[in-house]
Symmetry: C2
Subunit: 347 residues, 2 copies
């Protein structure tokens, strides 16, 4: 048996301002069952997770040894997390027809190497994508890195309508009972959802001309914890409002990924706040908490069942030819909640 | 009894680029014993500690509520830490002739309000100034904030020939036994002392045209802990070399105090390292560890006695009229070790 697969390769790593035509290239491959090695499977990809981090994996300016995972080099297939259905298996743990979650490729069919599969999909595939990536980031950012407790009065979340931010706001409000949750997002429509659906007490549009004043007005008692998915101007403003011993949790830096070379976001006055107010800034990668994934997914699943944490998703249908457009959507902030590409058959 | 005192006032808070004539004003006051309130003393000032933080207390750009102590406003007397001899006392704990350490003023004689005195001077007044300010910053920065242990292989110290840096390097090498201590300073003469006297394995001159390459060459195995007294370019370089879970301890930012408005020191690539390498950046003020001062001063005193930590001082003689020049000396980096003004009688 043989499958004709279409797969996106990285033609040339990109600097700032992603141009998908220059960066990616679609190739056609034959995947033959006879070529499978022990432990490998052939998978039909059904859902691709769109994550900001993917943009960083193909940035020319990256220094390879300073990334948390190998970059994707020129001529290598583009990777992602996602869900696929096994169509051929030489792995005794997985049978034909199994839906699995793990590392996949930008492709319609692919061979999954040993170790790519994390788990079988327990229910709705878009749930596990949302929980297993953004949910975990929100969970460990709040619980482990931020060590947030109900004693914390004011929490600010940047990129609050995004995949991680929308869950962060809801856990802060509905699980931890934080009194004052401030979300920052990039449109009035997103801001409306922040307060109506995601548990924010105040929502701020960072594109508003009065954003700086709005930010100050929204944090009259200063900030205990700043959950940062964005970096840039919002981070600079937040540093000027942190309480003594305030914590800044760095989960992402989406404003940086497509504009790497711009400098000067953190001003000197706000840097000095780190000293004056004994601020702690700390970054993390969810994989450092791998031993606690089961517990975290259990908690998140329960909260979702109870309706305390709504998994906000934006699933868009795409033919394999259109897959790179998902990265553009993310960088333009066109999503609310977790952006997921649902692969549909092309005409 | 009455004393004619000369005291420096802040005429006008200053922005960038300190001009001492515009900023300070010397006034003459009569201090009368009869005016002393209960608990007050009249003191003859003998040693004034020159600390970078004093520069920040008079910066126009400061937002008052964002400082760790009240700024010194226009028309108020300039403050400092230092040693004085009590000449008149209405405080039962302190007698005429006592040498005391605590908050003083830029003056030859002054009235010390209740609570200004921290302790009687146990020995050489310049020792307690060095230990009680810079020594404590080095101690708590390493031991408490950085939580440095001999497991840490590489430590980088900025402003390493300065008052805090010189002690930090020695504790790291001679007490904690850190394998690779890298000090950064601003002249070849300072660099020579770093390796010969202060325990550094490598010393780097940040004014050298090859500094960036030198920095990379000096940290081939990356950095466990960066003890930062400087901020700016050195911080940016260090962030690019931190190990997984590396710690950046922010003790000071001397490169910022006289050039507040310049932006753009922390570049985007190095900020993203906070995420990729799970870096923790943390600031502190020694007073947050006040309960541990006695233990810390005991340890530091013992290490000094044993010759493991040499207290590096630069004591300069000044008439009261020349006191503001000490601040200039610090900002220009003219000191090695703790800069202390010894007040001498005018001609």
């Amino acid at each position: 048996m043989s499958y004709t697969a279409k797969q996106w390769m990285v033609k040339e790593q990109t600097g700032d301002h992603l141009d998908i035509d220059k960066t990616f290239e679609l190739v056609t491959k034959q995947l033959n069952v006879g070529d499978l090695k022990e432990g490998e499977v052939i998978a039909k990809i059904t859902y691709i997770s769109n994550d900001p981090a993917q943009r960083a994996w193909i940035h020319k300016k990256n220094i390879e040894r300073r990334l948390y995972r190998p970059p994707i080099r020129d001529g290598e297939p583009m990777e992602a997390f996602g869900v696929s259905e096994i169509v051929e298996s030489r792995n005794p743990e997985y049978q034909k027809g199994d839906q699995v979650f793990g590392n996949i490729f930008w492709a319609d069919y692919c061979i999954l190497p040993v170790g790519s599969i994390v788990m079988k999909v327990p229910g709705d595939p878009t749930d596990i994508i949302t929980l297993g990536i953004s949910g975990l980031a929100a969970y460990f950012g709040l619980m482990n890195v931020g060590a947030v407790t109900p004693k914390d009065q004011t929490i600010v979340v940047s990129s609050a309508a995004g995949s991680t931010g929308s869950i962060t706001c809801q856990i802060a409000k509905n699980i931890l009972g934080i009194k004052h949750v401030v979300g920052v997002a990039g449109s009035d429509a997103k801001c409306e959802r922040l307060t109506k659906e995601f548990g924010c007490d105040v929502a701020l549009n960072y594109k508003s001309p009065t954003f700086k004043q709005d930010f100050e007005a929204a944090t009259p008692d200063d900030i205990d914890v700043f959950m940062d998915n964005t970096a840039g101007e919002v981070t600079d403003l937040a540093l000027m409002r942190m309480k003594d011993f305030g914590r800044v949790v760095i989960s992402g830096a989406i404003s940086y990924y497509d504009e790497y070379d711009k400098k000067g976001d953190i001003s000197r006055g706000s840097w000095m706040q780190i000293i004056c107010h004994k601020i702690r800034i700390e970054g993390f990668i969810v994989f450092q908490f791998a031993e606690q994934f089961a517990k975290a997914l259990g908690d998140l699943g329960l909260w979702a069942q109870e309706g305390k944490v709504k998994l906000v998703k934006q699933v868009w249908d795409a033919k394999v030819e259109d897959v790179p457009k998902g990265m553009q959507k993310l960088l333009r902030g066109e999503n609310t909640g977790k952006l997921i590409t649902k692969l549909v058959a092309g005409r």
